[in-house]
């Protein structure tokens, strides 16, 4: 009986809808093409993994992924002048979105180079096969020496990239949440795929997943509050609602805070940063590089859009909070990095400190702050990918030489590599004539113009602290004798060399001749966000 009732009820609901007019959202597929291409590539990757023979997969997958990212990048370039809201207000294609999509695709392309590198590890690649084997079990011993290669990392990466693209152009909170999940879930898996030090890697995946799920819950809780307040999940409507004087301001502030927590977690801002060192350390280094650059760009893109578009009218309310978080993040990142013995953990804390520097751009809350942040994200992404790529090159017989003491005397053994690494570290420290300096300058200039001078002073002091741990690595590499069991450098890992080279050259170019990219970021920022 009840089944019949529901069967009857359902058509009624449909019929009610049919009586009114249904707005079929006009979807302009051309404007969505970058996202669609990457989703397509991800699905195709799954099919390839299912049906292509094992040997062929190893060649097809990286090519497919790379070709997909290149095609999507070309699509972004072709779309560069588009400014519109798509799919019934769900997506926004505008200057910042396209700029960040382009950046994400370039970083993904570099990351594919690193993942595809098979010459570094004697058993072929940084990604393990059969990741589910429990460390310590009999199977794990066989796994350690097995040369099996699986290629599921590529479709996973493609899904994650698609999520990132969606994330930076989402114009409603719901799409933003969906994108957040699409980009995060594959990353949780990828974090657990390191070939060496399986236990650390599985721990990283677990931690990342649990904390990530937790932060997603915060995000969706905030979403609910905001929906309750504004009656809409569209960023534009929320902004309109926030502009009026209402009785339910509590919902609004709770919503802002909870959404903020969800996003601050993703960018790795203190006090929501605690996953960063563990995940950066445990993940396969190519994936770490991808996360450090890609996730940061995507999360900052969403953060900027949320705070500028939906809560732009509330800037006097959220600015103090962003100040506090920025200061905390810079101090925590710089100070804790001083105590690290592991190069990947040190770079993780450095990533936290950089998130803090980026937040000064958000705290500036002006157009210069936006363009400065856009520039900074690109500059930082290239440098950080090259840095992690270089970390994969310095190895002992037992995988990467992650302990800092093993880097001792690297300058004597391979001066070129150590020289490039020193250059990249100086860029991260923000020495002039590197992209790191231009980025910092752009962000800090905006912050001072936006009356955030004290924040800039803190940022500069923490930059000085941060310089210390970067310089310490240079001291180790150049001024100390190589240890007896120093690192081995594997010869001719072409793809990794290419990634390092591209990253280092871009770092230099953006330091010496930053004007073209500054113009691009400036154009993207002044045209602003569409609603």
């Amino acid at each position: 009986m009840s089944a019949t009732a529901s069967a009857i009820a359902a058509p009624q609901v449909l019929a009610q809808g049919a009586q009114g007019t249904i707005d079929v959202p006009a979807i302009q597929y051309s404007a969505l093409s970058p996202i669609l291409i990457v989703f397509g590539v991800a699905l195709a990757g799954v099919l390839v993994d299912a049906f292509a023979p094992a040997r062929a997969r190893r060649g097809i997958q990286p090519l497919l992924a790379a070709a997909g990212f290149v095609a999507a990048f070309v699509a972004v370039v072709l779309l560069h002048a588009r400014r519109q809201v798509l799919a019934a207000g769900a997506l926004a294609i505008d200057g910042p979105a396209l700029f960040l999509e382009g950046a994400i695709l370039l970083f993904a392309l570099l990351a594919v180079l690193l993942v595809a590198e098979r010459r570094l590890d004697s058993s072929g690649g940084a990604i393990v096969a059969s990741a589910a084997i429990t460390p310590g079990s009999p199977g794990a011993t066989a796994q350690r020496s097995s040369a099996a290669v699986q290629t599921e990392a590529y479709p996973l990466m493609a899904f994650s990239v698609a999520g990132m693209l969606l994330f930076v152009s989402s114009n409603t909170l719901l799409i933003m949440f969906v994108a957040l999940e699409i980009l995060s879930l594959p990353l949780y898996l990828l974090a657990g795929l390191a070939r060496r030090r399986r236990l650390l890697s599985q721990e990283a995946a677990m931690k990342y997943f649990l904390l990530g799920a937790f932060s997603s819950a915060f995000f969706i809780y905030g979403l609910a509050f905001i929906y309750g307040y504004a009656g809409s999940v569209s960023l534009g409507r929320i902004a309109d609602a926030a502009g009026t004087v209402g009785a339910n301001d509590t919902y609004l502030y709770l919503g802002v805070a909870l959404l903020g927590i969800g996003l601050f977690f993703k960018v790795g801002a203190a006090p929501f940063h605690s996953w960063t060192p563990d995940v950066y350390q445990g993940s396969p280094t190519p994936i770490t590089a991808f996360m450090a650059a890609g996730t940061k760009v995507a999360a900052f893109g969403a953060l900027l859009r949320l705070f500028y578009v939906a809560f732009g009218g509330l800037r006097w309310d959220w600015r103090p909070i962003v100040w506090i978080i920025a200061i905390l993040t810079m101090v925590v990142g710089a100070v804790l990095a001083l105590t690290q013995r592991d190069i990947k953990r040190m770079l993780a804390y450095s990533a936290i400190a950089h998130a803090g520097f980026l937040l000064t751009g958000l705290a500036a809350a002006n157009s210069d702050g936006l363009s400065g942040s856009l520039f900074y994200l690109v500059a930082y992404g290239f440098t950080t990918i090259a840095t992690f790529a270089l970390v994969t090159l310095v190895r002992t017989a037992d995988g990467e030489a992650s302990d800092l003491s093993q880097w001792q005397g690297l300058g004597r053994r391979s001066p070129l590599l150590a020289g490039i690494f020193a250059f990249l570290l100086l860029a991260l420290a923000g020495i002039p004539l590197t992209s790191g300096f231009t980025g910092k300058f752009a962000v800090f200039e905006a912050a001072i113009a936006g009356d955030a001078t004290p924040l800039v002073v803190v940022a500069l002091v923490t930059s000085a602290i941060a310089a210390f741990f970067y310089v310490r690595v240079i001291v180790l590499m150049f001024f100390q004798e190589p240890g007896a069991d120093g690192p081995i450098i594997v010869t001719r890992p072409t793809l990794t060399y290419a990634a390092v080279g591209i990253g280092a050259v871009v770092t230099l170019l953006l330091g010496v001749a930053p004007q073209p990219l500054l113009d691009l970021a400036g154009t993207a920022a002044t045209s602003g966000f569409v609603r």
């Binding site: 002039p432 800090f444 001072i448 113009a449 400036g522």
Partner: protein
């Protein structure tokens, strides 16, 4: 606007040469040395020609060039020379070939006890670093865009850092990396404070002019409110005070001085530190005239403390390189005093002092370096009676020392006199107190000379020490000649420097005090 690109050439030649020399294979060390020497000599000749082409009577910057670099922030590559920067560029380009020749065998030499030198890096890299440093030094003095100045100011640290860390004393690995890091972090910290002030200046300019700029000539026309001026002044001042260094920001200098290779120490104390004192007179005073007057008493107090503190510590040192570094602290006190007395006479003296100090301290470091290379120790106790064994070296040492203590007839006397006389017209008590510092200078120099050069020879094996070689004589000869020549006839230098200094102070609204006693015009000297 754009004339013959003297300064750009001076900048590009060593920078390009640095790249070329860095690419020289390690085994061809001699080739690297020869190329470097040739390039630095050409560079010096070019700087000399530029000095001849310079017209001291003309106001403003000469040899100016300006090209837009980063439009978005109003940053341009713009260089220009005035009297102050020109003489410092000349000093830098003079000292570099001397350093190259002095360091000829230092890098690839075995340690004094004959053991193979481990942990040393290649010879070409050393000379490439020297060339990179030279490019940085020229750039920092030639820049007329505040941003460009900052870029060189920071970029210059990197080659120096590697010179100390990689090429410092062989056996003191821990100490030299400590010194290198300390040097870098002190300078970076100061630099970052300056960066805050530089950005602040930019924001002020964009508030007042509509579009922000870093052009020095435009920035000095700004009318900055006193409160903001004070903050910005402090940002610049602390950076320069660390760089120069002034008391109490000096603690990195003795470490860096002692742990540098000889050539590095000469350039560090002789030229790099002058960037600090140069910055005070070029940027602090013209950009922030009110704040300069406001803070002048503080700076003068620090300067006088530095004069005595540096001298007293120098007297107590046993490590000869540290000793020379501490004497420099005292000398920088004099330079800062001359600058912030805000009279054209003292200012001229201060700029002259920068050049003379580069020569006299450079020579002191050279001689100490020669001694250390012979005996392998920086400790005073390892030497006694060396004048008997190495008379020429002892003679050069004496000249360097006498120049450092400002003996009349030698170069430093002129500058020290101008500084004290110029300070006296405004701050009598201070000038009188500072004069006592000269007595201390006599003590630390003569006491050092006495302990190392006079008396019976320290030990039998010290008798085998060789006197200066031909190469070493060639190295010291031009410096000795200049020390004497500029002591007797400093006019060419003063003629270049004085118009710029006078204009700097006048533009900033600091007029010289009127003499209290009537003087006739011919004796007026610096009292304009």
């Amino acid at each position: 606007m754009n004339s013959f690109p003297w300064l750009t050439l001076l900048l590009i030649i060593p920078a390009a040469a640095a790249v070329v020399v860095a690419a020289v294979p390690r085994r061809l060390g001699t080739l690297a040395k020869q190329v470097t020497l040739a390039v630095t000599l050409v560079e010096f000749v070019l700087a000399l020609l530029a000095t001849i082409a310079y017209e001291p009577a003309k106001a403003g910057f000469q040899f100016s060039q300006k090209y837009s670099w980063i439009k978005q922030f109003g940053i341009s590559y713009s260089v220009g020379a005035d009297g102050i920067s020109l003489v410092l560029i000349l000093l830098a380009t003079l000292l570099v070939p001397i350093v190259v020749l002095a360091s000829w065998d230092e890098v690839d030499a075995a340690s004094p006890d004959g053991a193979p030198v481990a942990g040393r890096r290649s010879v070409p890299a050393f000379f490439a670093l020297l060339l990179a440093l030279e490019a940085g030094m020229v750039g920092v003095f030639a820049a007329t865009d505040v941003f460009l100045f900052y870029v060189f100011f920071e970029a210059m640290l990197i080659p120096m850092y590697f010179l100390i860390g990689s090429y410092g004393p062989v056996k003191e690995q821990a100490q030299r990396s400590y010194a290198a890091v300390k040097f870098l972090l002190y300078s970076l910290f100061g630099g970052l404070l300056m960066l805050a002030a530089v950005i602040g200046l930019y924001v002020v300019s964009s508030d007042q002019l509509g579009t922000g700029t870093f052009d020095f000539a435009t920035l000095r026309q700004l009318d900055i409110t006193p409160g903001v001026q004070k903050l910005l002044f402090l940002g610049f001042f602390i950076a320069f005070a660390i760089k120069a260094p002034l008391f109490p920001f000096h603690t990195w200098l003795p470490d860096a001085g002692a742990q540098s290779p000889t050539g590095g120490a000469i350039l560090l104390v002789g030229v790099l530190d002058k960037v600090g004192t140069f910055g005070l007179i070029r940027y602090c005073i013209p950009l922030f005239p009110d704040a300069s007057s406001y803070f002048a008493p503080v700076v003068l107090a620090l300067a006088v403390i530095g004069i005595f503190y540096g001298a007293l510590l120098a007297i107590g040192q046993r490590d000869m390189k540290r000793l020379v570094a501490y004497t420099s602290l005292a000398h920088f006190g004099f330079i800062a005093m001359g600058t912030f007395a805000l009279t054209s006479q003292a200012g001229t003296g201060a700029v002259l002092y920068m050049v003379n100090h580069g020569l006299s301290t450079g020579l002191l470091f050279l001689v100490v370096g020669f001694l250390v290379a012979r005996r392998g120790s920086r400790d005073v106790g390892a030497y006694r009676g060396m004048a008997q064994v190495t008379p020429v070296l002892a003679g050069v040492f004496l000249i360097a020392g006498l120049s450092s203590l400002a003996l009349p007839g030698l170069n430093s006397f002129v500058s020290e006199f101008l500084v004290l006389a110029g300070t006296f017209t405004r701050y009598r008590a201070l000038a009188i107190v500072a004069t006592a510092g000269i007595v201390l200078a006599a003590i630390y120099i003569l006491y050092l000379y006495q302990r190392t050069m006079t008396g019976p020879v320290v030990s039998e094996d010290a008798r085998g020490v060789l006197d200066l070689s031909v190469r070493e004589k060639i190295v010291v000869a031009p410096v000795v000649a200049l020390i004497i020549a500029l002591g007797i006839y400093p006019k060419p230098l003063i003629d270049i420097v004085r118009p710029t200094v006078t204009a700097t102070f006048e533009d900033a609204g600091h007029t010289d005090p009127t003499p209290t006693a009537p003087v006739n015009a011919s004796q007026a000297g610096g009292h304009s």
